[in-house]
Symmetry: C2
Subunit: 75 residues, 2 copies
């Protein structure tokens, strides 16, 4: 669906206390949003730091993981 | 090493024309920077849109990929 029905949360995962990966649907396209959140009045709100990946950028990211991990070991 | 020697490029991969994943080392810690770049005077410069993941956030991201992909299929 283009949008989640009201009240239905978007699938999301904590990367740590303040970082969240969220699957979002907007104008018929799907995005993988990786973002910093902050707390205000007891609510978790999205901050400016972050990036929304398209499905194809997400696929590309997954495909390079072995190379990235190799670079991480060597650094 | 804490820093790449001058002239040695940080390992980086294009996610698409304007999006880059870069492995960086800063103050003895390693980061995975996912960021939008723009071109100015023939140079590719980092933009504001982006996020630097710590090694543990990167590990967490990798661990949730199967669940994220499942959510992407179902959305």
């Amino acid at each position: 669906p283009d949008q989640n029905p009201p009240g239905e949360a978007e699938p999301s995962w904590q990367l740590d206390k303040q970082r969240v990966l969220k699957v979002r649907s907007w104008r018929g396209k799907t995005f993988i949003d990786i973002r910093e959140y902050y707390e205000k009045d007891g609510q978790q709100l999205p901050g400016k730091k972050g990036i929304s990946l398209s499905a194809s950028q997400w696929s590309k990211l997954k495909s390079i993981i072995p190379e990235v991990d190799k670079a991480l070991e060597e650094i």
